[in-house]
């Protein structure tokens, strides 16, 4: 409906209604000056309200009729009202049932798995280009920080199966075996290949490591028998028969200190 009132903003419309209620001539003039485009609407609205007020039925009854109590009947409800109430109730029940049955429920909360790799891995993760470059320059591989590797079951519920084998704490006890065999055994437990450079002394030793990962074992053996393990980044470690000049003795500080290998001759 294209009425004048439907084209004007609601605020103006309400203002016009307000003016028709208790507006003064000065307020009318002010409105016309401020909103000349709505002056006509104001005029027609005022006329309409005047006619509405003026159409109040005149009191034809000159004398008040005597009060005679009437038989007041309750207004009967329409015949369809109980039906409507019943239908609404059924609809509500159906809606609730539908929502209960078909609405997807939130999945059961999953246990939180912390997949963070322990910080000890930072120093010896394979595929680190920097390590490879250093090996070309015959630089010693970065020694893993002496952060203790928590044994399985003592890490507050962390899953140790996510940790690479070469970082898993292991137990290695060998008596009277050649160093090369011991190194091979360490590599086998750590699940990485090993290449031993020529010239490595191969004494018969006994070792007893508990709760130490393969890398730490190799580094500890290297300090003892003058070799340095280098990670090649492809799952292979090369044993260079030379001592790492940058390795400090403090690198050995591991909580679960391995028992010193015993050279057997």
């Amino acid at each position: 409906m294209n009425r004048p009132s439907s084209r004007i903003p609601k605020e103006i419309d309400e203002l016009i209604w307000k003016l028709t209620e208790d507006g003064t001539p000065a307020a009318f003039d002010q409105f016309r000056a401020r909103y000349p485009e709505h002056a006509k609407t104001l005029a027609s609205r005022l006329q309409m309200v005047d006619r509405l007020k003026g159409s109040r039925p005149a009191a034809e009854i000159t004398q008040v009729p005597k009060f005679r109590p009437a038989a007041v009947q309750d207004v009967p409800r329409p015949f369809w009202s109980p039906l409507a109430v019943g239908m609404v109730s059924v609809a509500v029940v159906a809606l609730i049932a539908t929502v209960f049955i078909y609405l997807p429920r939130p999945p059961a909360p999953k246990p939180i798995i912390n997949r963070e790799t322990p910080s000890v891995a930072q120093g010896f993760v394979p595929n680190v280009g920097e390590n490879t470059k250093k090996s070309e320059n015959v630089q010693p591989a970065p020694v893993p920080e002496a952060t203790p590797v928590t044994p399985s079951g003592q890490d507050g519920g962390r899953r140790t199966d996510e940790i690479p084998a070469y970082l898993t704490p292991q137990t290695l006890a060998i008596r009277n075996a050649k160093l090369s065999l011991v190194v091979q055994a360490v590599a086998q437990q750590g699940k990485f290949a090993i290449n031993i450079g020529p010239g490595l002394a191969d004494p018969v030793i006994s070792v007893d490591y508990r709760g130490v990962n393969s890398i730490e074992i190799l580094q500890d053996l290297g300090r003892q028998y003058a070799f340095t393990p280098f990670d090649q980044g492809d799952g292979t470690v090369i044993i260079v028969p030379a001592r790492d000049p940058n390795a400090s003795p403090s690198d050995k500080s591991v909580d679960s200190t391995p028992s010193a290998p015993t050279p057997q001759g």
Partner: protein
């Protein structure tokens, strides 16, 4: 709203008038009459009836738009008041309580009448003698009022014909002032639309 000139000095008489009206003798006298009736004085109720008959009739007629039905409704309204005057707790003015009864009963009657006329058989309707339209000062207004719902008519009647304040209308309709204001605004808008329609015809 800043447009209407509001002068403090002009407001004083208005406020005084409002206070005077609240403390008017008629207000106290209504309560006194109610108390007298409750004490067994039947004449007190006759006085209340005589005092408010015209106003109640105006409400009923404004909502029902029929003089005869309005006259019957007035008798029913005062019968209800007579029965339930014991329940009047005097927290509001007697007139407000009375108007509430009048509005509710008139709206109920109007709905019943509308429902009844909807189900009149066509043949019966043809045979029926058309009741005389009540005399209204403005037929255009009357036509527009006829198109409104009984609720909207009640609001306009209370505001424009009985000149009740929004507070009184809210009490009469058993709602808060804001709700009364909103309902009045909507009723006026609907009236305006119907009024313009009539003008176009």
């Amino acid at each position: 709203m800043t447009l209407p000139e509001t002068n403090t000095s002009e407001n004083v008489p208005v406020v005084s008038a409002a206070l005077d009206r609240t403390k008017s003798p008629s207000f106290d006298e209504d309560v006194l009459l109610v108390d007298r009736f409750l004490a067994g004085d039947q004449g007190a109720f006759e006085q209340l009836y005589a005092r408010y008959h015209d106003k109640v009739f105006a409400i009923a007629r404004g909502v029902l738009l029929d003089q005869e039905e309005a006259a019957d409704a007035v008798q029913e309204i005062f019968t209800l008041v007579l029965r339930n005057l014991v329940r009047f707790d005097k927290r509001s003015r007697f007139s407000t309580w009375l108007f509430r009864v009048a509005v509710n009963r008139s709206i109920q009657q109007a709905r019943r009448a509308r429902f009844k006329y909807k189900h009149v058989e066509l043949t019966e309707a043809n045979d029926r003698v058309q009741p005389e339209e009540p005399e209204y000062a403005d037929p255009k207004v009357h036509t527009a009022m006829q198109k409104l719902s009984p609720n909207d008519r009640a609001l306009l009647v209370l505001f424009y014909w009985d000149e009740l304040s929004l507070n009184e209308i809210a009490e009469s309709l058993a709602c808060n002032v804001n709700a009364a204001k909103t309902r009045l605004y909507r009723a006026r808008e609907r009236f305006r639309l119907f009024y313009d329609e009539v003008e176009d015809e």
